[in-house]
């Protein structure tokens, strides 16, 4: 049975503070892939697009139109955040499914009882690490609050703190709790799905290495896409609520979350 660890394994520790985990390594790999693609796509932009440029236009234009339908004209402001969330999460999810990720690594520790050595994979799916997903969730929820404040000003605070009546006060408290819990739900939804998928694939590969894992691999590809979509879509929806909240709230009618 392969060793399954909930936490990402530490490979090295830099300066005694920053541990380099295998998930962090994969994050850098994903970043490098994204930057390389971005550079290749946009280094020679022409009105008649090249293959890679038209691919980038299809992806970026598609994302733009899709999220424009969700969030309306605010998309101009928040598109970099939402598109980056989607692109990073989907590539990180799919890179985690590549052969070699989670299987190439090294043994260490005492080898006295054969097969009891500890195995540390060199790479681990970036989104199969809670640090990554929690960081993304904090950025997303932080951005929701940031854009809410910048677009509505101080009146955005009325969403959380309203003393016009005890009911509004209580509703504001609930809003606060729900926004904090958004961080947790974002982080654990993504982490749970991807980590579970990797465990599933590892177990399948252990039980029956040939053919049987294939449908599950397809399923995990789909899950990776869906989770990226869900994460960015929910961020867009919450952003939409946040930036348009005051427009309803100023009439003192509804407080939705």
């Amino acid at each position: 049975m392969p060793h399954i660890s909930l936490a990402a394994e530490k490979l090295w520790i830099i300066g005694g503070i920053l541990p380099i985990t295998n998930a962090l390594l994969t994050t850098w790999l994903v970043m490098a892939m994204l930057f390389l693609f971005a550079y290749r796509a946009s280094c020679r932009l022409t009105l008649v697009p090249s293959t890679i440029q038209s691919l980038a236009e299809m992806i970026i234009g598609g994302l733009y139109d899709f999220f424009h339908g969700v969030i309306g004209d605010h998309i101009k402001l928040v598109f970099p955040l939402i598109a980056s969330l989607f692109l990073f999460i989907i590539i990180a999810n799919w890179v985690g499914l590549l052969p070699g990720v989670g299987t190439i690594g090294f043994f260490h520790g005492e080898a006295v009882p054969a097969g009891r050595q500890e195995f540390t994979p060199l790479l681990r799916g970036a989104t199969a690490d809670l640090n990554t997903t929690l960081a993304l969730a904090i950025v997303a929820v932080g951005a929701i609050q940031y854009f809410g404040f910048t677009s509505l000003g101080a009146s955005y605070g009325g969403r959380f703190f309203d003393i016009r009546s005890p009911i509004y006060f209580f509703v504001g408290l609930l809003e606060l709790i729900s926004d904090v819990s958004k961080v947790v739900s974002f982080a654990f939804r993504l982490f749970g799905n991807i980590f579970a998928g990797e465990v599933l694939l590892a177990v399948m590969a252990f039980l029956m290495p040939f053919i049987v894992p294939l449908p599950f691999l397809m399923l995990e590809l789909f899950v990776g896409f869906i989770q990226a979509l869900v994460f960015s879509m929910l961020t867009a929806v919450f952003l939409n609520v946040a930036v348009s909240h005051g427009q309803e709230g100023s009439e003192g009618v509804s407080h939705n979350g």
């Binding site: 850098w28 930057f35 693609f37 971005a38 009105l47 598109f79 690490d129 640090n131 960081a135």
Partner: protein
């Protein structure tokens, strides 16, 4: 937290990583690609508008051409009609002129003929007088003496002259 693998430094590192992704991708990917899409959209719209304009202009030109053609045809008709009328008038004029000319020629011919006759008459009278004298001389030479001859001849010539005046 320890069991879940959450570490503040790693968390911060991932936040920074994601911030870098957002900044770099929006500089390198979103802005240029969306700008290019916008540019292409504008160009396509301009192209369509231009095509529409050209189409309208073409239709306008076609209608103008049709109108001009119609006008030209009408004008041509008018010109032709006028030319026909003019030609008819000229024909009449020419015919009239020819008539007068012919009459003039005829009159001139008549005058010439008259003059010729006159001339011939004078000649004939002179010759006939000469002939009469010669005949009479020959006849009288045979029958009469020269004195009688002269007397008779004189009277005959007078007769002949009166006769010639009478007949010619």
């Amino acid at each position: 937290m320890e069991q879940l693998g959450i570490e503040p430094t790693l968390l911060l590192a991932q936040v920074v990583n994601f911030a870098i992704i957002v900044v770099v991708l929006s500089k390198l990917l979103y802005t240029p690609i969306l700008g290019m899409l916008e540019k292409r959209k504008a160009q396509i719209e301009e192209g369509i508008a231009g095509a529409e304009r050209i189409k309208q202009e073409e239709a306008k030109l076609a209608s103008r051409k049709e109108k001009l053609l119609l006008e030209a045809r009408k004008e041509g008709h008018v010109i032709l009609e006028e030319a026909r009328k003019l030609a008819k008038e000229e024909e009449k004029q020419i015919i009239a002129q020819a008539h007068t000319e012919a009459e003039e020629i005829i009159a001139k011919g008549r005058v010439e003929v008259e003059a010729l006759r006159e001339k011939l008459m004078v000649e004939v009278r002179r010759e006939s007088t000469g002939l009469g004298v010669a005949i009479a001389k020959r006849l009288l030479d045979k029958a009469l003496g020269s004195q009688q001859q002269h007397a008779i001849l004189g009277s005959h010539i007078k007769n002949a002259e009166s006769l010639g005046e009478k007949y010619l």
